[in-house]
C-alpha cells in the first residue's frame, strides 16, 4: 500500500499534447477515479502511471519514491484492462500465475496463491478453462484475479466494467468496492461513467481535453463544481444550466430568468452568492440540479432558501422511484425531480420549489464558477 503523487505531468504524442500538466495526490488506501469523456486522456494517464507510456515531463511517485523511468513490472502495480487482456492460449490458472512464473516463483507457492485468489473471487471451478470458454463476467473476474495475485502497492483499472451488461456492472461495482474496503490497497480507476465515479471514489479527478478540471471528493465534485463542464458532466440527469440576468432587488442580488414571451412570465429568484455582485446587470449561467427543483411537498424541509414558482410542465416522465417533469426555463428545457406520486400532468402549470441553497452560478464567458 502506498500513496500516489502525480506532479505537473505532461504527455505528448509527437506534436499533440494529450496530458497538459496534471497534479493529483491520493493518500495510501485511497480510491482515485479518473473520469471524463472519451478521448480526454484517462487511459493515457493510467498508462503513464503503469509505465506503459513514457511521460514527457513531470513526475509520478508511488509512496515516497519516483517511478518515472522504471519498467512496468518494477513499479509494484497491477492493472486490469478494459478488454481484460487475458492470454488466449493459457488457462485461467496459467493466466493468473504467468507473472509469478516469469519471476521464477516455484510451483507450490504459485498454486497456493492461485487457490487463494480463486477462493476470494469464487472462480475455483474455472481454473482449467481457457478464456474463450468464459462469459464476460467470468473473464472480468479472472482479470481481477490476475491483478489481485500480485498483491501490489497500487491497482490500476481501465474501464473494467464497460464491457459488461447493466445488471452485472452494478454487481461488480459493489464487489470492487467491497474488495477495496477489505484490502485497503490504493486504487486508480478509469471510467467515463460518472455514476461509477461517484459510487466508488474517495477522490475524483475530472478530466477534459487533457486538463484536470477538478479534483476532490465525490461530494465536492457533485455539489461544488468548479466549472460548467464538471457541473454538466457529473450527475444524471445532468444539472440544469439556465441563462439568467443578475438584478438588484430590495438591496439584495437576485437572478431573473426570462419567460418565453407567451404563457410563462419572467421568474426572479433571490441569490446570495457574493460573487454575483460583480456581474450586476450582466448574464450568468444559473445551475440547479433536478433534485433541487422539485414539487413543494417533496422539497428539502431543512433548506433555508426554498422559493416556489409556477412553471408550465411540458412532459412528465414517471421513473418508478421518482417522477421527472420537464419545464422550460430561460428558453431551455429544465428537468425537475418530483416524488413518484406527485400529482402532476403535462400541460399543467404547477408550482415548483427551487432550493436556492443548492444553486450554483457560472460565468458564461469563461465557464468558471462564480463564488
Amino acid at each position: 500500500m502506498a500513496s500516489l503523487t502525480i506532479e505537473n505531468l505532461r504527455k505528448n504524442y509527437g506534436a499533440t499534447e494529450v496530458l497538459k500538466g496534471i497534479d493529483i495526490e491520493i493518500d495510501d488506501g485511497g480510491f482515485l477515479v479518473l473520469v471524463g469523456p472519451s478521448g480526454c486522456g484517462k487511459s493515457t494517464l493510467l498508462n503513464t502511471i503503469a509505465g506503459l507510456e513514457e511521460i514527457t515531463s513531470g513526475d509520478i511517485k508511488i509512496g515516497p519514491k519516483s517511478v518515472s523511468g522504471l519498467h512496468p513490472s518494477k513499479r509494484d502495480i497491477a492493472m486490469v484492462f478494459q478488454s481484460y487482456a487475458l492470454y488466449p492460449n493459457m488457462t485461467v490458472a496459467q493466466n493468473i500465475s504467468f507473472g509469478m512464473e516469469i519471476r521464477g516463483i516455484d510451483k507450490s507457492e504459485r498454486e497456493a496463491a492461485i487457490q487463494k485468489v480463486a477462493d476470494m473471487l469464487q472462480i475455483g471451478e474455472l481454473l482449467h478453462r481457457k478464456p474463450s470458454q468464459l462469459s464476460g463476467g467470468q473473464r472480468q473476474r479472472v482479470a481481477m484475479g490476475r491483478a489481485l495475485v500480485r498483491d501490489p502497492q497500487v491497482f490500476l483499472f481501465d474501464e473494467p466494467l464497460s464491457n459488461l451488461d447493466a445488471k452485472l456492472r452494478v454487481d461488480m461495482r459493489t464487489e470492487i468496492k467491497r474488495l477495496h474496503q477489505r484490502m485497503g490497497t490504493t486504487i486508480v480507476y478509469v471510467t467515463h461513467d460518472q455514476i461509477e465515479a461517484l459510487t466508488l471514489a474517495t477522490k475524483i479527478a475530472v478530466l477534459k481535453d487533457g486538463y484536470l478540471q477538478q479534483f476532490g471528493t465525490p461530494a465536492e465534485v457533485y455539489n461544488d463544481p468548479e466549472n460548467m463542464f464538471v457541473a454538466d458532466f457529473m450527475g444524471s440527469p445532468s444539472m440544469n444550466l439556465i441563462e439568467a440576468t443578475v438584478r438588484e432587488e430590495n438591496g439584495k442580488a437576485a437572478i431573473q430568468i426570462a419567460g418565453d414571451g407567451a404563457g410563462a412570465g419572467d421568474i426572479t429568484l433571490p441569490a446570495n452568492t457574493p460573487g454575483l455582485r460583480d456581474h450586476m446587470g450582466g448574464k450568468v449561467m444559473f445551475g440547479i440540479r433536478p433534485e433541487a427543483l422539485t414539487d413543494p411537498e417533496g422539497a428539502d424541509r431543512t433548506g433555508a432558501d426554498i422559493i416556489q414558482q409556477d412553471c408550465l410542465i411540458e412532459v412528465v416522465e414517471p421513473a418508478g422511484s421518482d417522477t421527472f417533469a420537464v419545464t422550460r426555463l430561460g428558453g431551455v428545457e429544465a428537468i425537475a425531480r418530483l416524488r413518484a406520486d406527485a400529482d402532476i400532468h403535462a400541460g399543467q402549470t404547477a408550482p415548483l420549489a427551487f432550493n436556492m441553497t443548492k444553486a450554483v452560478f457560472f460565468d458564461p464567458k469563461t465557464t468558471a464558477r462564480i463564488r
Partner: protein, 293 residues
Amino acid sequence: MSAPSQDNAVKGSIITRAIIYVVLILFVIYYLLPLYVMLVNSVKPLEEIRSGNMMEFPKVWTLEPWRAAWSYAQIGVEPSGLRPYFINSILMVVPAVLLSTILGALNGYVLTKWQFKGHGIVFGLLLLSCFIPFQIVLIPMARVLGFLGISGTIPGLVLVHLIYGIGFTTLFFRNYYAAFPTELVRAAQIDGAGFFQIFWRILLPSSAPIAVVTIIWQFTNVWNDFLFGASFSDFDSVPMTVALNNLVSSSTGVKEYNVHFAGAILAALPTLIVYIVSGRYFVRGLMAGAVKG
C-alpha cells in the same frame, strides 16, 4: 398466399442449384484433366503414348517411367535421375522457409508492438522488395554471393530465397499482428515478460493460422522457383525445377514422355502434399486475416 410462393422459391432454388453444380463439375473436370493426363501417361510404356491417344487408359501398366525419372534418367550429362536434385530442393526449401517465416514473424511483431521512429518507412521498404522484378537483382545478387563465398552452393540459394521471402512474410505477420490486441502485450509487460518471452509465450501460440499461410506461400514459391535456381546453382546444388528442365530437354535419343510426366509429378508432389495437408488452415488463415484485418 405465402405457401405457393414458397413452393416456387424451393423449385427455383433446385434449378439454380443444379446449374451451379453442373458448372462446378465442369470446372473440376477442366482443372483435373491435366493431372489425369499426366498420371495416365506416366504409367504407360512409351510406345502406347506415341501410337495412341493421350487420353486413353494404359493397356499395359508399368512403373518403369517413375523408376527411371527418380533414379536413372539422363539429367543433363549424368544418368542420375531426379533424386539428388529432389534432395537439393529439400535442403534449400526447409531452411529458407523456416528462416523467412521466423524472421517475418519477428519483423511483424516489432513493426506492430514495438514501433520505433520510422517503422512505417522500414515496412514500406520491405514491401517494396515484394515488387522488385527478379531479373533486376540477378547480377548484384551474384556479386554478393561471390563476395560471401557461397556462390553455387545450397546455402547461397537459401540466402537468396530468404532475402526475397522476408518482404512477403513480414507483410503477412505484420497485418496479422496489427489486429492482435496490444493490451495483451502490455499485460505481459506488467507481468514482467521480456521481448522474446512475450513473442514466444503470448503471440506465437496464437499465430498458427498466419504461420500456415506463410509456410505454404513460401514453400510453393521457393520450391517452384526456376530463375534463381538456374542462375545461382552449380552441378551439385541444382534444384528440382532446373533438373526437371534438364531432364525434359536432354537431347539424347527419343523423348521419353512417360518419364517426363513422372518427373513432372515428382516435382509437383511436395507442394501438392503441403496443400492437401494444410489447405484447410490456409483458407481459414486467409479468412481470419480478412475478418480481422
